[in-house]
C-alpha cells in the first residue's frame, strides 16, 4: 500500500492566496503541501507566468501579470512541497485530501486545511449560449496566456466589468480588436461611480488603469445599455443579436462571442466540509463565512481569496497571509500579541481592498445573468433543460430550493455537476418561489469533485481492502 503523506498545513490552490499562505506558513516553521490543478503555479490570473516571462506575449498581458511572475518565482523558491496537475476529488474532516494525479488517487493528511480555490466566471444564460464559438472572456484569456492564441474572428464581447475591459485591451495590443463591445453595464454608471467614489479612492492607480481601458479610448465600437443578447447559428455561432434598453436592435456577424459578467466563488470544496454559504447582497453571490483569521467554522478549516468572496488577486494575497498567521497562532507558533501585530498592517490593506471591491461591485453589477431568461433559453447546459421547463417544474413542485428542482428535473446532474447552472437555477427558483436568496441556496456539492474512472476507483478500493486485512 502506498504511504499517505502528511503535513501540518494542506493548501488547495496555488494562486495568489495559496502561494502567499504557503510562504508565510513556512516562515513560521510549519510543513506545507500545496496542491494545484494546473501544471504551473499562479492561478488563473497568473496562468503560465513562468513560461511567459521570456515570451514577447508579456508586453500584451500587462503590469499585474508581470507582478505575478515575481510572486510565482518566490513561491517556487519558498520550500513548500508543491504538487502540480493534482485535482482534488474528495475532502475528509480532520483533514484528508484525496486527489487524482495521473491515473491514480493519492491521499494527503494534515492538521490544517486551507482552501484557496479561486473563482469561476458567473454563468450568463441567453438564447444560443451553448453554441460552439460562444465562450467566456476568461476562457479567451486563458487561451491567450497558455497558447498565445486569439479566438477565431470576427469576435464580439458582451458583458461588463474589469476582466472584459482588460481582455479587449489585450486583444488590441495583440493586433486583433473585437468588432464590438456589447456593454451590459446598467444605466446610471456615472451616478453609481460617484456613490462608490470613496471605495474607488482606495486604489486610484487601479481606477486610472481601468479608465484607460474604457471603450471610449480604444476605438472599439461600443454599444451601451445592452439588455438582451442572443447567439444565432446552426453548427456554431454565426451572428449575435442585441437589444439596448432604449429599444434599439442590432445584429453582427461573428465567429466568436465572448461573454463576461463578473466572477463567483468556487465554493464547492469548502461547502462539502462544512463551510457556510451566506448571500452577499453587494456581490449578488454567495460568500463563505469566516472569522477574522479566515477560519470557516470547523476546527482547522481556513478559506482565503476569491474562493470565499470575490476580492481580486491583491486581496487574495492578503487573506492568504492572514490565514497562515491564523494557523500559526492556533498552532501556538505565534503568541496572540505577535499574531495581532503581524496582521495589523494586513488588516488595514484588507479593508482598503474591500472598499475598492465595493466600488467595482456597485459599478458593474451582473445584468443579463440575473435577468429572467426566455422560456426557450437553456439553463442547464448538460441536461439541456430550458428556463420554461424548469419554471414549470419549480412551480408545479412548489420547489423551495435547487436541490428539490434537481430531483424533479435532473438540473445540475450532468458532467459539470451544477457548476454552470447553479447560479441560474438559484435565480430561477428564487423568482418562482418568491423566497429570499439565503433560504433558496445552491446545489449541495457532491464528491467526486474531479472526474474519476472506474478503474481508478477500483484500484483505490483494493488498497483499502489489503490494508484492512493486514490489520486483522
Amino acid at each position: 500500500m502506498k504511504a499517505i503523506s502528511r503535513a501540518d498545513l494542506l493548501i488547495v490552490g496555488a494562486g495568489p492566496a495559496g502561494m502567499a499562505a504557503a510562504r508565510r506558513a513556512l516562515r513560521g516553521g510549519l510543513s506545507v503541501v500545496v496542491l494545484d490543478s494546473q501544471s504551473q503555479p499562479g492561478g488563473q490570473i497568473w496562468r503560465n507566468a513562468c513560461r511567459n516571462s521570456t515570451s514577447p506575449i508579456i508586453k500584451v498581458l500587462g503590469s499585474e501579470y508581470r507582478r505575478g511572475i515575481r510572486q510565482v518565482e518566490s513561491f517556487l523558491a519558498c520550500g513548500a512541497d508543491y504538487i502540480p496537475d493534482a485535482q482534488v476529488s474528495r475532502l475528509g474532516q480532520g483533514w484528508t485530501i484525496e486527489y487524482v494525479k495521473g491515473a491514480e488517487i493519492r491521499t494527503l493528511k494534515g492538521r490544517y486545511l486551507l482552501l484557496a480555490t479561486g473563482a469561476q466566471e458567473r454563468p450568463v444564460p441567453f438564447s444560443g449560449w451553448t453554441l460552439p464559438g460562444v465562450m467566456t472572456v476568461g476562457a479567451a484569456q486563458i487561451l491567450l496566456k497558455t497558447a498565445g492564441q486569439l479566438p477565431q474572428g470576427p469576435v464580439a464581447v458582451v458583458g461588463s466589468g474589469p476582466l472584459a475591459l482588460l481582455y479587449m485591451q489585450q486583444m488590441r495590443l495583440a493586433g486583433a480588436a473585437p468588432v464590438a463591445y456589447l456593454d451590459t453595464t446598467p444605466r446610471g454608471l456615472i451616478g453609481r461611480s460617484l456613490r462608490g467614489f470613496r471605495g474607488a479612492m482606495q486604489e486610484p492607480g487601479q481606477v486610472f488603469k481601468g479608465i484607460a481601458w474604457l471603450p471610449q479610448f480604444s476605438g472599439i465600437r461600443h454599444v451601451r445599455n445592452v439588455v438582451r443578447v442572443s447567439a444565432e447559428g446552426t453548427r456554431r455561432v454565426e451572428a449575435v443579436r442585441f437589444e439596448s434598453s432604449g429599444g434599439s436592435h442590432g445584429q453582427l456577424e461573428v465567429k466568436t462571442l465572448l461573454v463576461h459578467e463578473g466572477l463567483v466563488p468556487s465554493h464547492q470544496l469548502a461547502v462539502s466540509v462544512g463551510a457556510q454559504l451566506i448571500w452577499d447582497v453587494g456581490q449578488s453571490a454567495f460568500r463563505l463565512e469566516r472569522n477574522e483569521w479566515m477560519n470557516a467554522g470547523p476546527e482547522g478549516l481556513y478559506i482565503a481569496g476569491d474562493g470565499a468572496r470575490i476580492g481580486g488577486a491583491a486581496n487574495s494575497e492578503i487573506e492568504g497571509e492572514i490565514a497562515a498567521i491564523g494557523v500559526l497562532f492556533r498552532e501556538g507558533a505565534l503568541t496572540p500579541a505577535q499574531a495581532n501585530a503581524d496582521t495589523k498592517p494586513l488588516r488595514a490593506l484588507h479593508a482598503r481592498q474591500k472598499a475598492f471591491r465595493g466600488f467595482l461591485d456597485v459599478v458593474y453589477p451582473p445584468n443579463i445573468a440575473r435577468t429572467r431568461p426566455d422560456d426557450t433559453t437553456i439553463v442547464c447546459r448538460c441536461e439541456e433543460l430550458s428556463a420554461g421547463e424548469l419554471r414549470n417544474a419549480a412551480s408545479r413542485g412548489a420547489c423551495r430550493g435547487p436541490n428539490q428542482l434537481k430531483t424533479f428535473t435532473r438540473a445540475g446532474m450532468g458532467p459539470c455537476q451544477g457548476r454552470q447552472c447553479g447560479y441560474p437555477v438559484h435565480e430561477l427558483v428564487k423568482s418562482v418561489a418568491g423566497l429570499p436568496a439565503g433560504e433558496v441556496g445552491l446545489f449541495n456539492p457532491r464528491p467526486p469533485f474531479a472526474p474519476l474512472t472506474v478503474s481508478i476507483l477500483a484500484a483505490q478500493e483494493a488498497e483499502e481492502v489489503v490494508a484492512a486485512s493486514t490489520h486483522e
Binding site: 513560461r51 514577447p56 469561476q120 453554441l131 460552439p132 492564441q149 479566438p151 477565431q152 441536461e383 472526474p451
Partner: protein
C-alpha cells in the same frame, strides 16, 4: 482562421477523428480545437447538439474528448504531445 499570435512549443502532429492536425507540444488540447474549422469537441447527450470549449478552466465539461490510452477527459485540462489520437465525443458514439 484563428491567430496563433505568440505560438509556443515545438510543432507536433496529432490526429482528431483520424485526421492529422498541427499542434504545439505542451499546449492545451482545447486550444487545438479552437483553431480548427470545426471547433466542436462533443455533442450534447439529450439532443446531439454540437458543443465546444466554453470556460477553458475545467468547470463546464463541454470540451470533453476521448484520448487514446488516457480516456475521456476535459481537453482544457490536457496538454498535447506528439502522436496523440483524439476523438470527439459525438453522440451516439458510446462513452469509453
Amino acid at each position: 482562421m484563428t491567430s496563433g499570435v505568440f505560438p509556443s512549443g515545438s510543432a507536433v502532429e496529432i490526429t482528431v477523428d483520424g485526421r492529422v492536425v498541427a499542434a504545439c507540444d505542451g499546449e492545451l488540447l482545447a486550444a487545438v480545437f479552437l483553431r480548427l474549422e470545426d471547433i466542436h469537441t462533443r455533442t450534447s447527450f439529450p439532443s446531439a447538439q454540437p458543443r465546444a470549449p466554453y470556460c477553458m478552466m475545467g468547470v463546464c465539461f463541454e470540451c470533453d474528448v476521448h484520448v487514446e490510452n488516457i480516456g475521456t477527459i476535459r481537453s482544457c485540462q490536457q496538454t498535447v504531445h506528439a502522436g496523440m489520437k483524439v476523438e470527439r465525443q459525438d453522440y451516439p458514439k458510446r462513452l469509453k
